[in-house]
């Protein structure tokens, strides 16, 4: 069994006894076998000395127990690392930033405290998953939707705190932005409620987010100044119907007006999450010679190929929600705009789906688009033990996409080996106002050279992105220092402010040391 | 300050001499100042319907109630405005009309505004 860094064996034994007093025997995990279950299943450091491992895990069931666990940790200066469902695979899972931390596993705090389908909100604990919340709503026939990310086993609370994202309307896709009110246990064990929750007997905790005075909620997202134990969310009322229409545009340079128009539709609230693609991506083998050209394939040659093959250069799946007649009006309007601005644009409408869906419709619908949690995104990744996400944020323009393709293709060309980016790669569109040029690097639990290569590529590509003014929105613990280093404006003034706050709120530096590159004073020297 | 004293002050400053600007005030510039800072409340053209009742621009509507037609409610149509009175109201506010700071209307701009709003008074004699 590992002992937390800087803690004597005697203190450790006493602390473990006190943890047991706080949460009961069944909530304290110390055997090697049990602690092994807190490893990051997709760790890029698997089995290497640097792998970030827990020393123990504590699973409280109430806020009071969390508070007591934090007090014990403070007493003995034991580093702790809270997880909600611990399922943010590709971004660190249930393993801590700092080896030897005690994981505070909140999975057993899994109450859905309230769902209101007239005022459209929910209040949940950290251990509640999207599956749980969805079932709660379905079992009661409530007329609200949740916005869910790809992995349905994730926690609405944890995902929001990691700045996670979903698939419906802009305002709901940003899960932290659509949160409203939280309860947190501070490093000294004190419990705060934010927003209206600070007012005893508050009637609008999950409805009005700011309360009175400064908003501190942001400090708890991707941060380490407390353990969030409750969180409210704004939900969408269930729309009447849903329909997609896929627009295809013929020429490579049509990407600029395509994205411009889609932005307009989206920012005006006429569509949900757009989904971009290129029909040419599947024809890379036929384009091998062109793709090898120094400086990339000329647009005219690609256009000629696309024309010969009767393929479009780019597609965008538009998603419409609302009353059927409104959807029809939206689609007609969108088609009119695209046709006017992009000669040769064509459309393929999906089926109009009215809710509730039939079983057949349920089986074929893209579930995340209609707020049904699932795990389908884990499909199609054979031959790997996991993946590691690189998630740079770029502007929402065609020019930026083409530039990002060039910049990242150069990295792969320089490094050799398979390129994850081609001239047909399109960004993820979860963010309301920005693109994420997402890439998943392979992870192996048996071949350490795969991980070494992934780490090198990751470090290099983070730097290259930063040189172009692009930072990442989220990263696994192994790379959080690198990502934060890119946010260096004015001699890292923002990070220094984060550190000032960290030291003030968590003077013993026990809480999630190193998360997002924010280390407590006594560990600041060890930053990667 | 008691209301009576405020009125007294208004009268006193209203009678004070007006030559404070270093460059010659311009009623053309003053029109620009008026359009930017005064017209949203004291303009001539009222909306068809107010957001919260009322039916006109707040300053113009208030003066219409106050003067009941004895003098025009629209400031730009007035021919009886004294320079000192304008200065005092701009710098002290009156009723719901707030104080205006020098980072908003500088002393020079205030003199331009005075020139503009007193142009009819001057012509009238």
């Amino acid at each position: 069994m590992a002992i937390p860094p800087g803690v004597s064996n005697r203190d450790w034994q006493t602390a473990l006894q006190q943890f047991v007093q706080a949460v009961g025997e069944s909530g304290v995990f110390t055997s090697d076998e049990d602690i092994g279950l807190y490893r990051d299943a997709y760790s890029p450091l698997w089995e290497e000395p640097e792998e970030r491992l827990a020393s123990a895990a504590i699973a409280p069931t109430t806020t009071e127990q969390v508070s007591e666990v934090v007090r014990v940790a403070n007493r003995f200066r034991i580093p702790i690392f809270p997880i909600a469902t611990g399922r943010n695979l590709g971004y660190g899972g249930s393993a801590p930033n700092l080896s030897g931390s005690v994981v505070v596993d909140l999975k057993r705090m899994n109450r859905v405290i309230e769902v209101d389908d007239r005022r459209h909100f929910a209040i949940v604990e950290p251990g509640v998953s999207y599956f749980d919340l969805y079932r709660h709503i379905q079992d009661r026939g409530l007329k609200v939707w949740i916005d869910c990310p790809d992995p349905g086993w994730g926690s609405p609370l944890g995902n929001a705190l990691d700045h996670g994202v979903g698939y419906t309307f802009g305002a709901y896709r940003d899960h932290f932005h659509s949160h409203c009110g939280l309860e947190a246990v501070l490093p000294n064990g004190d419990v705060i409620r934010t927003g209206m929750g600070a007012l005893p007997g508050a009637k609008t905790w999950a409805e009005y987010r700011y309360g009175f005075g400064p908003t501190v909620d942001g400090l708890f997202a991707q941060g380490n100044v407390g353990i969030v134990t409750k969180m409210g969310f704004h939900l969408l009322p269930a729309p009447e119907a849903y329909q997609t229409s896929v627009v295809t545009v013929p020429r490579r340079n049509d990407i600029v007006p395509l994205i411009g128009l889609v932005n307009e539709l989206e920012h005006a609230g006429l569509i949900g999450q757009p989904g971009y693609g290129s029909p040419l991506a599947a024809r890379r083998a036929d384009l091998e010679e062109l793709l090898k050209r120094p400086g990339g394939p000329p647009a005219e040659d690609l256009d000629r190929f696309a024309q010969e093959q009767k393929l479009g250069s780019w597609t965008c799946r538009l998603q419409f929600y609302g009353a059927p007649a409104v959807i029809a009006a939206h689609i007609a309007y969108a088609k009119d705009r695209f046709t006017r601005d992009i000669p040769g644009a064509t459309f393929e409408d999906g089926e109009l789906l009215r809710f509730p869906l039939t079983q057949e419709q349920l089986d074929s619908v893209r579930k995340v688009a209609v707020g049904i949690p699932n795990l389908a995104a884990f499909g199609g990744r054979r031959g790997s033990d996991g993946h590691l996400w690189f998630a740079p944020v770029i502007p929402k323009t065609g020019e930026a996409v083409l530039e990002a393709q060039r910049v990242f293709m150069d990295v792969f060309a320089r490094r050799g080996g398979p390129a994850l980016i081609s001239p047909f790669s399109m960004p993820a569109t979860w963010m309301y106002r920005a693109f994420v040029f997402l890439m998943g690097f392979p992870i192996s639990r048996s071949d350490v050279t795969v991980n070494q290569r992934t780490r090198e590529t990751m470090r290099e590509i983070i730097k290259v992105a930063a040189e172009h003014g692009w930072g990442e929105y989220r990263a696994a613990p192994a790379f959080q220092d690198d990502v934060m280093a890119a946010y260096s404006y004015n001699n890292s003034a923002l990070l220094r402010l984060h550190e000032t706050i960290k030291d003030a709120i968590d003077p013993n530096g026990i809480m999630a040391a190193g998360r997002s590159g924010i280390w407590p004073r006594h560990l600041r020297g060890r930053r990667a | 300050m008691r209301r009576a004293m405020l009125f007294l002050l208004l009268c006193v400053t209203g009678a004070a001499p007006s030559a404070v600007a270093q460059t010659a005030p311009s009623d053309k510039n003053g029109k620009a100042v008026f359009d930017k800072w005064c017209a949203p409340c004291h303009g001539a053209v009222a909306p068809a319907r107010g957001m919260f009742g009322g039916g006109a621009l707040p300053g113009t509507a208030a003066l219409a109630v106050k003067y009941k037609g004895r003098v025009p409610a629209v400031l730009e149509e007035r021919s009886n405005l004294a320079p000192g009175f304008i200065r005092t109201v701009v710098r002290n506010g009156v009723f719901g009309m707030p104080i205006t700071r020098k980072t908003e209307i500088s002393d020079a701009e205030l003199e331009d505004l005075v020139a503009y709003l007193t142009r009819k008074s001057a012509r009238g004699g």
């Binding site: 709120i505 997002s516 | 003066l63």
Partner: protein, 540 residues
């Protein structure tokens, strides 16, 4: 001259000299006449010893000058109070929370740094007003729509930092919620940029609001942790059209399904701020019609009595005006769909078509246009509500203090809030502008506001009474779990105390942050109830 607390006249004088070197002598205001221009025109302590007046004011023009001002203030421990346009009247205006503070007037920092009509954002400095930004957009025919609050001379930066609100669709109405990226001068004089602005040469500062790591932007709103010198905002693409329609429902108890149905439209982002009203109860803050007054003479009527009253009146009990933004086809389709849904949900619902306007509005049509803020056009028309009008012809107020009770979005809460307000006014022997048909405001999309507008005067005797009424409203609402989202410095300590969960744990947390970020306690001491360590025992 008022001196800052614990600062000697000699030190203050030396500091003023340094401020003059930093920003130019013209932009340091220290004469009594000039400093008086920073008084709160609507102060509820006007002319009393407690009135919060400045010691002087300094008006920097650049972020570097702001840094210098902050460094000088740290040297002499002079409390600073930054304002952007200082036009948040009823919430304190340009006067500081702590008497003797030096106002940092950012009005001269009035550059519009970017308006992007493709990615739909703006980046502005604090001295830019909604008027300025609107004119900039219109002069260039940029295809974006602003969301504006009532007073057009307010600052997008300052308004959002005060959690101010507007009128279009929900995401844009919340001005702090729709900000994206800020630049801040900290209490120690350091410049930070938040979100992706912390990546040097970032080209998406106004596109992604989080960056990596914790988000600290919220700390700078309604607070005193830094001076915000730039801020980005998401804008709405200019819609092609605007359509309004009014729904009326016949019975008193139809209010609940009415609200529920409106919330559906609101939370799907399909309408702007809904406008609730009652054809029976009279207008906003208007006295009740005679028959209703008679009904209320023997106390607050029961729901049955009100239902009977509505029957006798033979007019709809409630109305709501909806506002649709978008292409013509879709606003019309939405209004049609709304009619179908309201009819299905509420028997007897009736509909009246309102304006249909193509956007943008031609400039020559603007002046006579009603409801300008709903079309993103800044104005000052809201002041008509409190300016001299026929009902106050002989005794107009000098200002007002607003208490906005945040109540749940349901009929029972509205009815309870109207009654609580009514009874609280009655306790004070004050005419109560509330009746069982009073309607809420829906600025924040998820919450209703039951508003109390208390007059302020340049007369201590009358202000004393207004203060008592205001404090009583605050207490009565807090007892019921209703907070208020914003208030003037005169009430900030009292209001902060109503947010007392777990022995004021949130306030204590903020104080710890305050002490760490602003160790000398120079920035806006006391703002929103947050005092630096050295002054904490002086809290009101």
């Amino acid at each position: 001259m008022v001196l800052p607390p614990n600062v000697s006249e000699a030190d203050f004088s030396a500091a003023l000299g340094e401020f003059r070197s930093a920003v130019g002598a013209d932009w340091v205001f220290s004469s009594d006449a000039d400093v008086a221009l920073y008084r709160d025109s609507y102060s509820i302590y006007w002319g009393e010893p407690e009135e919060r007046v400045a010691s002087a004011a300094v008006a920097p023009a650049t972020v570097e000058e702001v840094q210098q001002v902050v460094r000088i203030a740290n040297k002499y421990r002079i409390p600073l109070y930054p304002i952007s346009t200082g036009r948040n009247l009823t919430y304190g205006g340009s006067a500081p929370t702590l008497r003797g503070s030096l106002v940092v007037d950012l009005k001269r920092m009035n550059r519009i740094l970017a308006v992007d009509e493709k990615r739909h954002f703006a980046l502005v400095e604090p001295g830019v007003s909604y008027f300025d930004l609107y004119n900039h957009i219109r002069e260039r025919n940029l295809e974006v729509m602003l969301d504006v609050p009532d007073p057009g001379w307010g600052s997008p930066v300052g308004n959002s930092l005060d959690h101010g609100v507007g009128y279009t669709t929900a995401p844009f109405r919340d001005h702090f919620g729709s900000h994206c990226g800020m630049e801040v001068v900290t209490a120690e004089g350091e410049i930070i940029r938040t979100g992706t602005g912390a990546v040097p040469n970032s080209d998406n500062w106004q596109d992604f609001h989080y960056g990596a790591g914790p988000t600290i932007d919220g700390l700078f709103a309604q607070s005193n942790f830094g001076i915000v010198t730039k801020m980005g905002f998401w804008l709405m693409p200019m819609p092609e059209a605007y359509l309004t329609g009014t729904v009326t429902v016949p019975r008193y108890q139809d209010f609940d399904p009415l609200i529920h149905e409106v919330s559906y439209w609101e939370d799907l982002g399909l309408i702007g701020m809904p406008d609730y009203g009652s054809p029976i109860g009279g207008g906003f803050f208007a006295p009740p019609p005679a028959a209703l007054a008679a009904l209320m003479a023997s106390g607050w009527p029961s729901i049955d009595a009100l239902e009977r009253f509505v029957g006798v009146e033979a007019r709809p009990a409630w109305s709501v005006r909806l506002h649709f933004y978008g292409p013509e086809e879709t606003v019309r389709a939405n209004w049609q769909a709304a009619k179908r849904r309201f009819s299905g949900a509420i028997p007897g619902a009736a509909f009246q078509d309102g304006e249909f306007l193509r956007l943008p509005i031609p400039p020559e049509q603007e002046p006579t246009l009603p409801d300008k803020p709903r079309l993103g056009i800044p104005s000052l028309e809201v002041f008509a509500m409190v300016a001299r009008n026929p009902s106050t012809a002989n005794d107009p107020a000098d200002g007002h203090a607003d208490f906005f009770a945040m109540i749940p979005r349901k009929a029972s809460a509205v009815w309870e809030a109207a009654r609580v307000m009514f009874e609280t006014y009655r306790e004070m022997d004050t005419p109560a502008p509330y009746n069982p048909f009073s309607t809420p405001i829906n600025y924040y999309s998820r919450c209703f506001i039951m508003a109390a507008v208390v007059p302020t005067w340049r007369d201590p005797a009358r202000n004393s009474r207004s203060r008592e009424l205001f404090a009583r409203i605050m207490d009565r609402c807090a007892e019921r779990g209703w907070g208020c989202y914003r208030t003037a410095p005169a009430f900030q300590d009292q209001l902060a105390r109503t947010y007392s969960f777990n022995n004021n744990a949130l306030l204590r947390f903020r104080e710890k942050l305050k002490d760490s970020i602003d160790p000398n306690g120079i920035l806006s001491p006391g703002r929103y109830g947050i005092w630096p360590a050295s002054m904490r025992n002086t809290r009101a």
